[in-house]
């Protein structure tokens, strides 16, 4: 129930193209791979971020990371480090960079870039296995990135 209303909220915010939004091509990473400015200018919604991190059709971050705060979501992977404490280890700007394109922080990491639209080898139309019809959208929207960042910022070291 809570889940459905959260998803609805995403659908609503997602449909409003915000004027001040930074597009995937225009993101400014600093030398350490962080992004200082918000991608939307609007604050992130940590509760929605939590849904995106756990949801298979969204960020599916738990495919690779364990997150103790999301213990009710089944099956957390071990490909990446646990995200517990990420909000203490990284600043908001660093987290934004990590989620948008972790390769700018960790050279060659297996972690996918969630706010990137070009430079791929044989990109497909989501999980269909077919070539895309038009330009690729990023895996997460600007606001979804901000929401995930807001959620990660709540994961403090005990």
């Amino acid at each position: 129930m809570k889940f459905a209303s959260l998803t609805l909220a995403t659908a609503l915010t997602g449909s409003i193209a915000l004027a001040g939004q930074v597009g995937p091509e225009d993101v400014a990473f600093n030398d350490d791979g962080a992004i200082e400015a918000s991608l939307t200018g609007a604050p992130g919604d940590a509760a929605n971020g939590a849904v995106i991190v756990g949801e298979k059709s969204k960020g599916n971050c738990v495919a690779c990371h364990q997150v103790a705060a999301l213990a009710d979501v089944p099956f957390h992977g071990e490909v990446g480090p646990p995200l517990d404490g990420a909000g203490s280890r990284w600043s908001e700007a660093e987290l934004r960079g990590l989620v948008s394109n972790a390769k700018m922080t960790f050279d060659g990491t297996v972690m996918p870039a969630f706010y990137k639209v070009d430079g791929f080898v044989r990109p497909g139309d989501a999980y269909t296995g077919n070539a895309p019809e038009g330009p690729l959208p990023p895996i997460l929207s600007a606001q979804e990135i901000e929401d995930v960042v807001a959620f990660l910022a709540t994961l403090k070291e005990e």
Binding site: A68, V79, P112, G124, G129, I139
Partner: protein, 283 residues
């Protein structure tokens, strides 16, 4: 990362699921007589990548493993029986069956699976079992080609694999096959799709780790065709490759394409030394 701490957290988070940190130590003996090599030293060509190679069987649950230990329990064996019938049945304009040219499959096909894909001198190309089967159907029998990843093909591959069960995979990667092998290697290490993941990212760097609910294996094909509980049928290697490439949000290659033939040769060579297991059972 502190590995112990990670495992402890994993146990807490995914409590109902027993999190395995790698391949298990179980031994595979089929029907109490065929001793399978499911772990061995990596072939020389991959010495800089991993020390040991493991069959996918080592990464499955005890329940799934058990299904492959006895042919009466192995759901893939039904298809072997079906293919045995096809082997003996004439098809096509020439009125011939496989048996017309190859006699008893037990004799003529022993050892064949272990060395495929293989360079074919007359054709001037590397051929997979499936290409060879379809070549016989088309040119020797005057019969329709089978769909590359279809049920008839998977079953015939299973029948042919059974004749080599327990023998070590031993595909040649040098000489005329080398160019194809190099091409397959390049595909294996290319990061495809919007997720930018290569075969190696999952099956070389992360085998033993969980990715969501899946326990990653080395992605070996010594057990193919494989009966999957998930779709309740025999699956060919190219169908599996296609699924894995699709899961990187990529445009896949076609089963039977030069690209997947090259990839099959390369992946098979990463299993040189493991036993032929097909038809294996996986989840």
């Amino acid at each position: 990362m502190n590995f112990k701490a990670m495992t402890a957290i994993a146990a807490l988070v995914a409590a109902p699921l027993s999190v395995l940190a790698g391949p298990d130590e179980d031994a595979l003996v089929v029907n109490g007589e065929i001793e399978m090599v499911t772990k061995t030293a990596a072939p020389a060509h991959m010495a800089d990548a991993v020390d040991e190679i493991y069959s996918g069987w080592r990464f499955r649950s005890d329940e799934t493993q058990a299904l492959q230990m006895d042919d009466f329990d192995n759901p893939g064996m039904v298809f072997v029986d079906q293919a045995q019938e096809a082997w003996d049945t004439a098809d096509g304009t020439e009125g011939k069956s496989c048996a017309s040219c190859h006699d008893a499959v037990q004799d003529s096909m022993a050892g064949v699976r272990a060395v495929y894909p293989k360079w074919n001198e007359d054709a001037g190309e590397v051929r997979t079992l499936a290409t060879q089967i379809n070549d016989c159907r088309e040119n020797k029998m005057g019969a329709e080609k089978w769909k590359y990843t279809g049920g008839d093909m998977a079953a015939m591959e299973a029948l042919i694999s059974v004749q080599s069960r327990g023998m070590p995979v031993n595909v040649a990667i040098d000489g005329p096959a080398q160019e194809t092998w190099e091409k397959g290697k390049e595909i294996y290490y290319t990061r495809y799709g919007q997720l930018e993941l290569s075969c190696a990212n999952c099956h070389e760097q992360n085998y033993g780790n969980m990715i969501r609910a899946d326990h990653l294996s080395q992605g070996q094909i010594n057990g193919f065709p494989t009966y999957r509980l998930k779709n309740a049928k025999l699956n060919t290697a190219h169908a599996r490759f296609k699924g894995c490439v699709r899961d990187t949000r990529a445009e896949t290659f076609k089963p039977g394409s030069d690209d997947f033939v090259a990839l099959e040769l390369y992946v098979a060579s990463r299993g040189n030394g493991l036993s032929v297991e097909g038809p294996s059972v996986r989840n």
